[in-house]
Amino acid sequence: MAVTRTNTVQNPGGVKVKTSSGQFLHFRLDAAGPKPLFSFESNVKGVLFQNTDFPNDPTSSYEWDHLKNPSDIQQLELLELALTFLTNAKYTYTVELRDSVGTNTTVLQISYDGAPTDFAAESFRVVIV
């Protein structure tokens, strides 16, 4: 069975980030439980981290930032969140564009509902401007 996606904010496919003005991406993954299994990757750096890299894993909410650290910045990097549904049937993935003065814009918010043997991966490309 294919994963069912419910878009609150559709994946734009590409996101402009003005890192020179302090903009960065904030990621949040909400998991209905009981045991989320996921991986976050870049086409440039490979696996950035997995659920097991979070000290409070398993939990109902995982949050992380990207592009805050200058060493993260890669032009046209493709970022992908890979989700498995074996032990967690529902996820909600939110990506916000944030800046140093506290402005938040949701660029992607999608809920996923899958069968135990399903797999889904959501990706978008970062365009540094």
Binding site: Q10, G13, P34, N43, V47, L86, F119, R125
Partner: protein, 426 residues
């Protein structure tokens, strides 16, 4: 003419569905198509009343109850005694009486979650209270038949179950081992996926920009293409405008990378099978307590479950039974029962409908003061919606308890898994 209209309609429908597809959804559908092309291509939680209830649609008890809370209503025999037996009191079937019976089962875990105002699937709470899922309690009412139970007033059903071996819990040591082996594979398939997507997007850019022979991250055209081409709104147009040779190259790229995805799919299926086929052993006690003159039924039971294959589960019960009669001699004895349950469909989602399930069961019961009773049952459990199942049962017994005649009947029930229903309605 009719065929042409159907083909035109199908073409229109597939085009319409392509309009709603983002790049990621298209990519997943292509991966699945290639895997299917290559291959050609939990069961077993008791949500019904315990078998002690003579009106239950379950002849054999299973080792694990629901993780959370479930309710079972065993409505009425829809064919009251197919063999048309009539006892001295006029009761029919093993249960007699017109009223059905109902029971509710809750795990200790569900009670803890409710007391702590936590969602039962909260990841931390679920991980920290694995042992609480080993214990469950049942409370219900059971219909009584004067010929068998010495009263026509309903009895009260009490039950408790302790899961000694729990091989199907995701926090059992064996399940944790299987899930640990999966973790690096998720990273591997994710890396393959993001690199393949990167390559496909670059190839699409080159195919749609004939003057370009390679991509450059500093090329404003490629940056603009990356920003605008892969949303669900724009991607179908990009896909439609690709030349056929570019589409063929992309399909070849996917085919050349498919082994990683196919291996991952096989591994997830294997882990799912290993966990769902895990061994389970529980001990259970059930009692039906009736009024001052009615008989009380007690049963202490060992229940063993084992997955024979991903689709077939085998269950064995061995119990010591005791009927406490107020007006005549008590009966003591034992019972052995076994059941094979097969899933006819696959579960469509973790919290979705349960599979369509067919089971065959047999029970042999020996009690002092009674002739041996042998019962056979076939059952089809039909999922009506997530959390609601309709079990339809045909049961045949060589004799109906103390009535020395054969009995057969069809039964209808309703089982409601409240947590599953709640999750589906969220």
């Amino acid at each position: 003419m009719k065929t042409r209209i159907i083909l035109a309609l199908l073409g229109f429908l597939s085009l319409a569905s392509a309009h709603a597809q983002s790049f990621d959804e298209w990519f997943e559908s292509r991966i699945q198509a290639h895997i299917n092309g290559r291959n050609g291509n939990g069961m077993d939680k008791q949500r019904e009343s315990p078998a002690t209830d003579p009106r239950s649609t379950s002849l054999v008890d299973q080792s694990s109850a629901t993780d959370f809370i479930s309710v079972a209503a065993n409505v009425i025999p829809v064919t009251p005694g197919l063999s048309q037996i009539t006892g001295s009191t006029g009761g029919t079937g093993s249960g007699g009486g017109a009223a059905g019976s109902t029971s509710a089962t809750a795990s200790f875990y569900a009670l803890l979650a409710a007391l702590n105002k936590m969602s039962p699937t909260d990841p931390q709470f679920y991980a920290e209270h694995a042992n609480a899922r080993r214990t469950s309690f049942t409370l219900g009412t059971v219909t009584s038949a004067p010929a068998v139970d010495n009263t026509d007033k309903p009895g009260t059903l009490y039950g408790a179950k302790l899961l000694v071996l729990n091989g199907r819990d995701i926090y059992s040591s064996s399940s944790r081992h299987y899930l640990q082996t999966l973790q690096p594979e998720i990273a591997k398939v994710g890396t393959q996926s993001v690199q393949l997507k990167d390559q496909i997007q670059k190839d699409m850019f080159i195919a749609l920009n004939p003057g370009k022979t390679k991509t450059d991250v500093n090329d404003p055209d490629f940056q603009q293409f990356s920003l605008t081409s892969f949303s669900a709104t724009n991607f179908p147009g990009v896909l439609a405008s690709l030349p056929s040779d570019a589409r063929d190259r992309i399909e070849n790229q996917i085919e050349n990378s498919i082994s990683t995805f196919a291996e991952f799919t096989n591994m997830v299926n294997n882990v799912y099978d290993q966990i769902s086929q895990g061994m389970q052993l529980s001990i259970a006690y059930t009692a039906v307590v009736r009024d001052a003159v009615g008989n009380n039924d007690h049963r202490a039971e060992l229940i063993f479950d084992y997955g024979l294959s991903p689709q077939i589960n085998w269950t064995v019960n061995a119990s010591a039974d005791y009927i406490d009669r107020k007006t005549t001699l008590d009966s003591k004895g034992g019972r052995i029962a076994t059941s094979f349950q097969g899933n006819l469909t696959s579960p469509n989602s973790g919290w979705g409908k349960t599979p369509l399930r067919l089971s065959f069961s047999g029970e042999a019961k020996w009690l002092t003061g009674q002739k041996p009773q042998y019962t056979f049952q076939s059952q089809l459990s039909i999922p009506l919606s997530p959390g609601i199942d309709l079990p339809i049962v045909y049961r045949y017994a060589n004799r109906n308890a103390q009535i020395d005649q054969t009995s057969s009947e069809a039964r209808l029930g309703l089982s409601v898994d409240i947590s599953r229903l709640t999750q589906a309605l969220k």
